[in-house]
């Protein structure tokens, strides 16, 4: 049985199950902004020796078919992520505030669209 270890081994978002890495290119997470004005979106990761090469590699790996107009590359080590166990404490308060959703309020039909 394995556990949800939170200690990511250098450069990945997963638990440490492999041997230590030597001389490996670091891992970069890649974000692409598409043509239609949406924000950058995570598309995957790749290995590259530095930021410049990470962007070049991202172009070859993730934008072979006009997928984007802008690339962000972030070294995976520099990403802080919430962990699954925090799901309750992080998101509970918003679940309790149902009045934040417009459907909480009943508006009579006569008023029309609102």
């Amino acid at each position: 049985m394995s556990s949800p270890e939170t200690s990511p081994y250098k450069g990945t978002e997963a638990a440490d199950h492999g041997p230590a890495r030597h001389n490996e290119w670091p891992l970069w997470e890649i974000f692409i902004r598409g043509q239609h004005g949406l924000s950058h979106r995570h598309v995957g990761s790749l290995h590259a020796p530095d930021a410049e090469m990470a962007i070049k590699n991202a172009r070859d790996v993730y934008t072979r078919r006009n997928e984007g107009v802008s690339i962000w590359a972030v070294e995976a080590d520099n990403i802080a992520a919430s962990s699954p166990e925090e799901k309750g404490s992080l998101y509970e308060p918003s679940n309790a505030k149902v009045y934040r959703h417009p459907t909480f309020f009943d508006i009579p039909d006569e008023v029309g669209a609102m």
């Binding site: 049985m1 394995s2 556990s3 949800p4 939170t6 081994y9 990945t12 978002e13 997963a14 638990a15 440490d16 199950h17 492999g18 041997p19 890495r21 001389n23 490996e24 290119w25 891992l27 995957g44 990761s45 790749l46 290995h47 020796p49 530095d50 090469m53 070859d60 790996v61 072979r64 078919r65 992520a81 962990s83 699954p84």
Partner: protein, 330 residues
Amino acid sequence: MYAQMIKSTGEGVKSLEDMDPDERAFQERINAGGKIEPKDWMPDGYRKTLIRQIGQHAHSEIVGQLPEGNWITRAPTLERKAILLAKVQDEAGHGLYLYCAAETLGVSRDQLTRDLLSGKMKYSSIFNYPTLTWADMGAVGWLVDGAAIMNQVPLQRTSYGPYARAMVRICKEESFHQRQGYDIMMKMAQGTEAQRKMAQDALNRFWYPSLMMFGPSDAESVHSAQSMAWKIKVNTNDELRQKFVDQTVPQAHYLGLTVPDDDLKFNEETGHWDFSQPDWNEFFDVLKGNGPCNVERLEARNKAWDDGRWVREGLLAHAAKKKATHLAAE
């Protein structure tokens, strides 16, 4: 398939009642159609089986570049050459999407590469067959990529999030591969008598190896049952093989080519094509390393890895030097 004969725990599927609370919550989430993400709790067997499966799939994409790379310099026209280059580049990309998914399970790409180069990990049996003529580029795209699509489309719904997302990207690109292959076959089948013969010969040689891609019948396999319970396998090998035959036979007829199987006939009762099984002894032999090109393929990958060492190390040294200069300037 691109991942063949993947072993899971070998213990058979536990009932929900026999599972400890973590495992039960995990299985119930999968049963409800939920996705498992890298930081979520997962049984060791799930993690290990997925690393084997995704790793083998990735290796297949990478080694799969070799039989087609063989024809890049000999493509009959500049257009065919550009298309083939783009296709082979896609295969490299597919390998990288998959390594990236495997890495979220805690194994590194370099480790997986080392296991491929040492022969510890396998790749699909199909890539141990040679590509002897230009028509083989047609047959590979049409049949091999066609068989791959059969397996990969349902895997878009697999339970492991990063794997499913890699599959979505791959499937989008894969239909270009199959169509360019069929396009080559149409040209050849409608060409001169010599070209038509070449197309028929390519179909003759690739038909049974393509059927082998799905792996032997696994209806009784405990590994397969566990993988299906975990939703890292969605259909049995026989289901996918039947689907592939049903789809491909009419396409062969359209080309005016003959499927090399005397017992092939449409079964009115079942609504499916009845067909002969490939020679499974040949399949196991190829997996063991005795196929026509096993040695050549592994040698090519080892050579590429060794020849690339100075580039990998040089770029790392350059990056370290730049970083040091940058820090000193601050």
